[in-house]
Symmetry: C2
Amino acid sequence: MTDVYVVGIDMLKFGRYPDRTVVQLAAQAAIGALDDCKLGMRDVQALYSGNIGETMTGQRTLQLIGQTGIPVVNCTNACATGATALREGWTAIKAGLYDTVLCIGVEKMAAGMIVKKKVGNEPLPAEGLIGSETMPAVFAMVGMEHMRTYGTTLEQFAQVSVKNHHHSTLNPKAMYQKETPLEEVMGSEMIAYPNTKLMCSVNVDGAAAAVLMSEKKARELGLMSRAVRVRASALASDPFTERNLVMQDVNAVTRLAAETAYAMAGLGPKDIDLVELHDCFATAEILHYENLGLCADGEGGRLIDSRDTALGGRIPVNVSGGLLSKGHPLGATGIANVYEIATHLRGEAGARQVQGARIGMTHVVGLGSACAVHILEKA
Amino acid sequence: MTDVYVVGIDMLKFGRYPDRTVVQLAAQAAIGALDDCKLGMRDVQALYSGNIGETMTGQRTLQLIGQTGIPVVNCTNACATGATALREGWTAIKAGLYDTVLCIGVEKMAAGMIVKKKVGNEPLPAEGLIGSETMPAVFAMVGMEHMRTYGTTLEQFAQVSVKNHHHSTLNPKAMYQKETPLEEVMGSEMIAYPNTKLMCSVNVDGAAAAVLMSEKKARELGLMSRAVRVRASALASDPFTERNLVMQDVNAVTRLAAETAYAMAGLGPKDIDLVELHDCFATAEILHYENLGLCADGEGGRLIDSRDTALGGRIPVNVSGGLLSKGHPLGATGIANVYEIATHLRGEAGARQVQGARIGMTHVVGLGSACAVHILEKA
């Protein structure tokens, strides 16, 4: 099987785009990613589109930037939507179907999209009725459990948000680019204890795109100098656990995807230089330190205290500002993570550059559930 | 790359299931397909789910039949949704990621789903406002054009519906199983000239599933005797044509997908023993005879007159009853077509068996657009 490389990337500054359509956002990111590697739509052999809110998003994007008749696959997978589109593109190149594919993730977020809605004529499960399947509730409960089990403090969770907001001041594409001190984070409105409003991800519009290419083609076109190898691409859904009899088990699905990715890459957590992980709530980041093996179980609180996960530390996490401050446009997030990691591996991340970064990891997890982990490596 | 085989199949009788959820329908088809090849959920390494109306359908299906943590990809692609899910599963096996995957297509149809709806905040195109992007209008106009250009008659179009309704009397899984004579077809309510009500596809609920397997695994498990090889899997979107500046070009996209499939299989139309094609309206079947190369351009009307496309003819088309009488639950149709062809290639089609069938073709085309063509071959 050929190795697959990310050769072109782009993302829009995350924010509010009331006057732009979803496909206009998608088209802009797509053109940016193609420009980044000096290709045009005629060079693209297939499109993998990740978007939750609309239908036939991939094809409608092509109506703006070039109807060339290529296969288009539209994927949805909750918060892992963009990452799933990227993975389907990667799979197609691995299968030898194409040398060059375009992957787009895009979302315009409606107010309240975060709350679980009744689907079809299916009864809501009991825990849905009392709110424990809404995302703030799930991530509050897993945070509370971590506090009880390991003595993790509210301040430690809040420091996640302080760190990621600080990182975002160095990222011109983040929604917020503003220092947010501890007092402000802890003093903001309580949403679901221990997560205050400033410890919840930001509901924004956004789009990101990546051009993937087979190794042969990337060499042929002289694109290897800025290329990033996809060393592992793992996807998992809820395994059967005691916990997910009563609520979503974001820990188990993340551990499963991470184990799969590490095994595929032949690497371990110590080999990773930076991570973009799914900090949909501040509590989630601490849990995922442990789920991804960045520290031992129960050590997440101490890891944030050590500042090892801040820029300049041993294993910087969410240097982009993360979902907490860069923002979280569902379908776009998975590919925006790849944009961030690739930018560092290329050495093009400017003020927030993780020095000497050679291997990076992206992680998204959507309730329902879908968890995707990618490991990327400097070519 | 490994060859990929369909080793297990099932579909529910298409109809109305007001008391069943989408995932209950999906789960029943999935269990049926696994039973068909004597496998269980623990043998499945990834799930590819095609469904338009709901979200996280694949994962919610697994909540009923077994949460094993496997990767789940949810695909949508208009009427090509199920076929796209199947193709993504096929691609993953080709890529060497898995030996055994499950593909499910499912839909519960809401009234009015057939009419193009306003999406997001995007303006409707002018032709949408005047109705020419609704499906009955598109397939009326292309039928009218065929009448003007080639002298095709209303009666010839109506005979498509007579044929497919007759076929459905031999298929216990068809929605309608009732002879529908020419006078009845031509005399039913006019929807969009030349298509009467009995020349429009049937809005039903349905589900279908297929287990795909690598050649090595299928041999190892002794499943080759009833296996069907996926000889080609092609997907296309709108190419740029003069026509699709003003309306959907269902002809161009079908021709593109068919050419791709024939090239991939190293076969031509003469090698095909039976076809399940996208007779969403009676006019469409005549057009697709030509688009798929079953006859020369302009000869579609004469092909239906010749009875070559009826059961017992040279190249039987829509022996299942087709979308016109079996029914058309959008997300399920692509995989239901594969069910039909595989059943014939196995020699298990009972009263409607196409004798000696060795190679069959499936075709779906969704406006927007996505066209998938698969060529299947007896192992």
